[in-house]
Amino acid sequence: MEPTQPRSFLLSQLIDRAAEQDADHDAFRSPAGSLTYGELVGRANQLAHLLRDEGARRGDRVGIFMPRHVDSALAVFGILKAGAAFVPLDPHLPAQALERLIVDCGIRQVITHAQPAKTLLKMLARTENAGRIQTVIGPDLKAELTELAARAPASKAEQIQCRPWSDLAAYETEAGPNISVLGDDLAYIMYSSGSTGRPKGIMHTHRSGLAYARLSVATYGVGPDDRIGNHSPLHFDMSTFGYFSSPMAGATTLIIPEAYTKLTASLSQLMADEKLTIWYSVPLALIQLLARGVLEERQLGCLRWVMFGGEPFARKHLYALMALWPQARFSNVYGPAEVNQCTYFHLPPVPDPAAAAADPARNAEPVPIGRIWSDTEGRVLDDRDQPVAVGDPGELVIRSSTMMRGYWARPELNEKCFCSETLDGGFERVFYRTGDLVQARADGELLFLGRKDRQLKIRGYRLELDDIERTLSAHPTVEEAAVFAVRIDDETRKLSAAVSSKDGAGVDPEALRQFLVDRLSWYAVPSEIREVAAFPRTTSGKIDRRRLQAEAEAAETSDA
């Protein structure tokens, strides 16, 4: 027999390999239904054939415009098996913002669900979109498209193919299309959730996605018995842990539907019923669980690892969780979406976490982002790209197997964010500038100081806004805090703080001011501290500081 040529190992094969191990093991679960690895492979093969029929080819971008549902896992692996790249689209985008992304990366096929399909139809009604979208897969929209074609002939809606899920039955389950895709080919584009400006599409290859999956499975010892809580929506980069790392380990991912992320008593019940072993989310989800999740009534003894990242997590909340879940390990995860993860910090055990949670001095200390993980090199550089002395702040610049290929169709950004170093013989190493300021502690652990563009000077003094926020958050009456500079005129800016109170019990701004005066340099004390009932959030759950700043500046102008 002729020996077969080995092929590249691709992200799409993660589920095939898991199915070979145990086809009946649950791959993705959700209260509305679940898919075993065997079912997922069969359905993804069918979807891949359907996509090929609809013209999707290697390198093509296919949109996933869906709520948090197991069908999104089917879409991810179906698209990859067709050799195309998937592009997650936030299901709550209004029609115009959706259009911007679809135009930006030239999406022609969209996989969707009934609810977001309403926005999609609204977008298609705009005549300038005629001929842009060729196929809509998922819900049966034939009647709606016929109606749209009659109402708005210029939309050319009659030319759009509608392929409902029921069409999958016509295709083969045994094997996907015979495609020739390399590890170096485009696998997905993740749009940054930036609230202003043109969206940035972060391009990842099969290789960078697999590198992340492999490193994270090793770092957290993920195995087939793990049940992973995927809190993040697909369009947020933390989802790669649930969608890639979990299948690599043959584990089960629980896709938490949106309703549960808003009603935390239901969320904590679901976590207990599903016997989750690993949790990964932004700090906000954990803060909400602490505040309203009735955690003391839930059996969460299976939880062995709690990972959090995306923004700094106040220690007092962290200690409160440690007191509730003494069996679990806790890790701070750091890494821009451009490189997936790049550092980790495993919290050392705390003898009396409840006492630690009540100690303002301990709570004012930042949680380190820790150490650069494997297959990654990190350097802390000054403005002239020279290494800083240990302990000095500088920008973190890294190279890694998990690094993106670049931003989609943004040569000017790629020019800025990558830098290279040429070694003997012309051998080149390519680095990514994270734009994040870090500082190495004497013990080698890295501290995150803030975004380079969030560092500012007021009255000639250099301020680290995150440092001020952390100090404010350490106060017992404060739940969360945000600090930002408000522009008064061309020369003047003032420092402003917004805080939410613990249990909505209210704060005393003067007491908070005094608390900061005792702990910070005088110029770092905000000139106003305002209580807010709730913070505006970005779609990923981070506090939207740009919006706070814009609102404060608008108020400033109207007062003048």
Binding site: Q115, K262, A265, S266, R292, V294, G504, A533, F535
Partner: protein, 98 residues
């Protein structure tokens, strides 16, 4: 006491006025008693908390965290049933947490 229709109208008014009023596409949004408020993105997690505050004040009742569940809060109809099933807490009495 409030009858069912009255409660549903008050909730719908509040959601329309306070929670989705600022959205660019607000005028396109229809609101029915059985519309899923949570999955559709009509109400975000902060909106849920503001809705709870409104219910506590308007209907003079206490909503303990354990009651913040999908069964009670998925749409206006279930919220109304929940409000009617809870004995209102009179003014001046301590709120009963359960």
């Amino acid at each position: 006491m409030h009858d069912r229709e009255d409660i549903e109208n008050q909730l719908a008014d509040f959601i329309r006025r306070e929670l989705i009023g600022g959205r660019r596409d607000a005028e396109d949004i229809q609101l029915h008693a059985d519309d899923d408020l949570l999955t559709s993105g009509l109400v975000d997690s902060l909106g849920v908390m503001r809705l709870v505050q409104f219910i506590e004040q308007r209907f003079e009742m206490s909503v303990p965290p354990a009651d913040l569940t999908i069964e009670h809060f998925i749409d206006i109809a279930t919220i109304t049933t929940y409000i009617q099933s809870r004995k209102p807490v009179g003014k001046g009495e301590p709120a009963a947490h359960g």
